[in-house]
Symmetry: C2
Amino acid sequence: MSANVTIADVAERAGVSQASVSRVLNGKASVDPEIVKQVRRAVAELGYTPSLAARSLVRGRNQTVAMVVPDLGNPLFQGILKGVSVAAAADGYRVLVADTDEHVDDEEATALEARQRCDAVVLCAPRLPDDRLRALVARLEPVVVVNRRLDGAAVPQVGIDYARGVRELVDHLVGLEHRRIAVLAGPAQSASNAERLRGIAEAEAADPGLDIRVLPCGSRLDDGFAAADAVEAERADGATAVIAYNDLVALGLLAALRQRGVDVPGDLSVAGFDDIPLAAFGTPPLTTLSVPRAELGAQVWSRLRGLIGGASDEHELLFQPRLEARASTAARS
Amino acid sequence: MSANVTIADVAERAGVSQASVSRVLNGKASVDPEIVKQVRRAVAELGYTPSLAARSLVRGRNQTVAMVVPDLGNPLFQGILKGVSVAAAADGYRVLVADTDEHVDDEEATALEARQRCDAVVLCAPRLPDDRLRALVARLEPVVVVNRRLDGAAVPQVGIDYARGVRELVDHLVGLEHRRIAVLAGPAQSASNAERLRGIAEAEAADPGLDIRVLPCGSRLDDGFAAADAVEAERADGATAVIAYNDLVALGLLAALRQRGVDVPGDLSVAGFDDIPLAAFGTPPLTTLSVPRAELGAQVWSRLRGLIGGASDEHELLFQPRLEARASTAARS
DNA sequence: TCCTGCCGAGAAAGCGATTTCTCGCAACTG
DNA sequence: CAGTTGCGAGAAATCGCTTTCTCGGCAGGA
C-alpha cells in the first residue's frame, strides 16, 4: 500500500539516493536516464505515492485553496464554486468550502482558520464591514474578494456590475411602460445589495418620472415568498413591476403571488437576478440578469494562481450582466 | 505574524522546552501551572499558530475529509454537503469537495487523489460498477458510501430507502385512482435510480391493475424539460400520472408541460423526489418525497468520525423518505 | 600534462510539530 | 535511613519529503 511506502524505500529499491528519487519525481535538474528508469520502476513496483503532508511541510504549500461563502444554498455561489473548482483542478489544486451561514461574526474566524489549511482563500460576498474586512484581507494575504467592492485594499477583486445591471433592468421595465416599481432588497450587509440599490438610485435620478420603492426582503426563496404581502400593498398603491434581489426571491414571490391569484406578468411584472438554472423554468419563465458564474469562477482562479505564484495584483474585474428578457415581464396593461 | 513564529520561538520566549509548549497546547500530561502561564503568554504575545502541515506530518492526520459527488449542481448533494460540513466543523474538521461532473471514469482517480489529501472520504452516489467500486472503496479505507448500496464491502453505508419511497408514491397515486403511470428514470449508472425502479417493479407486482411505463430521462432540469414529448406520448396513450426521477426533473417537466398548455394536476399528476427547497414553490407545488438531507449529512459525519477514530463499522443506515403530498398530484378526473 | 570548472549524485540539513527517552528530584515504603 | 517509585521537564528522535552542500570524476584550456 502506498500508505507506508516512503521515498527511502523507493531509493533503496532503486539503489540510488533519496535526493535522486526526489529529483526524478519533481523533474528537477538533469538526472541520468538510467537512474530515471530505475526510479520509475521502483515507484511503480512499490506503488509509491509521495506524502502530501511531508511535502507541504517543506514547501510551505498545500495545493489547496479555500472558498468562504455566506450561503452554499445560493445557486450563484454554487456556480462560482464549481467554476473555481474546475479551473483549480486543472492546475492540481483542490478547493475546500467553508459556509458561514450568513453569520457575519464567524466570517473572520472561519476565513482565518481556512487560510491556515490552504495556500490562499477566496472570500465570496463577505458581509463584514469595510474596516474589519480590510484588516481581515490583510491577514489572509493571497486572497481574492468576490462580489464585494473594497476600496483601499491591495487585493484583486472580481465581481458583477450590479449597479449597471439593475439600471438595464429598470430601462427594460421603463421600456414596457412601468413607472412605479417595487424593489425587494437583499441582506442588509450584502455589498451587492448596496450596489443594486445604488443602481436604482442612479436610475431614479436619471428619470424623474420613475417612482421606485425599496422593500426590505432577503436572499432566499422564503424571503421572496414572505414578501408577497408587502408587494401586494405596493401593487394596490400603483406599483406595476417588481425587481427582486435575486432569482430565488423572485421565484418565491412568484409562488406566493400565484397562490393569491395575481397574474404575472398581466397584473404585475417580476424580474430577478443571476439567471439561475431554474429561472428559465419558472412560471412564468423569469426575466433576469444573467451572470457568467463559471467564467467568473475561472477568473477568480486565474487571479488566485497568480498570487500564489507570488505575483501582485490588485485589479478589479467587473463582469457585465446580460439581460435575459423572458415572460415574467411585459408591457403594463 | 503567525506565519513565521514556530514552536521554538515560543519555547525560547517562555523559557521552557518545545516539548512543554507542545504539552501545554495539547493539554497532554500535567504541566506546572507556572509554565502553562508562561507558555500561554508567549503564545499570545507572539501570535503563534501551530503549523498544520507539521502537525499533519507527525500525526498522519489532516483534520480534513473529502466529499466526492457526481454533480454539485444537484440540490440533494448540496444539502448533504452542508450537513456533513456543519457536523464536521463542530469537530474541527473541514471538508473538501470534488465534483466528478458525472464522469464515471474520473471517479476512481478523483477519489484516490482526494483521499491523499484527507483523512477520509465520503463517496456520494458513486456511479462506478460494483466490482470497481468495491476495489476503490478498499483503497480509500476510511470511507462512507452515500446513496449507493454495495454488498460485500466492509464499509458503512447511508442512504435513502428509495424503493420503499417510490412504493409509497405509487400508493399515493393509486389512492388517487391513477393506474397508468409513467416513470422518468435517472442516470443509468445511478444506483438510487435502480432502487427506484426496483420499488416500481415491486409495486407493479403487488398490484396487477397497475400499468407503469419507464422512460429514460436523466437527473437535471433540462432532462425533465426534454422529456415532455415522451411524456405527452404516454399521456396520449392513457397515462394519467408521472413520477419523475427527482424534483429537478419534475420541475423541468412542469415547465415544458405548461408551455404545451397541459394542466397539472388536471390533465396529469406529477410527482418528484427529494423535496428540494423549490419543490414547495413550484407551479403547482410539487408532490414529492422528502429526505432529511442535513440529518443524513450529520449521520455520515458521525460514521466517518468513528472510522477515523479507528472504529470499524459496516452498518447500513437507511433513511425513510416521507411523502409530501402537494398540489401537483390529484385524483384522476 | 596539470589545473580549473562543471556536472551529476549522494550525504545531510532542514521544515515544525509530536512523542519517546532520559534524568533529576521529591516523596513514599520497609 | 536507604532504596525504590513517581512525576515533571528537557533533550533528542521522528514523521517524509526538498534542497543545499559536498565531493568525485571528466572535459576543456593553458
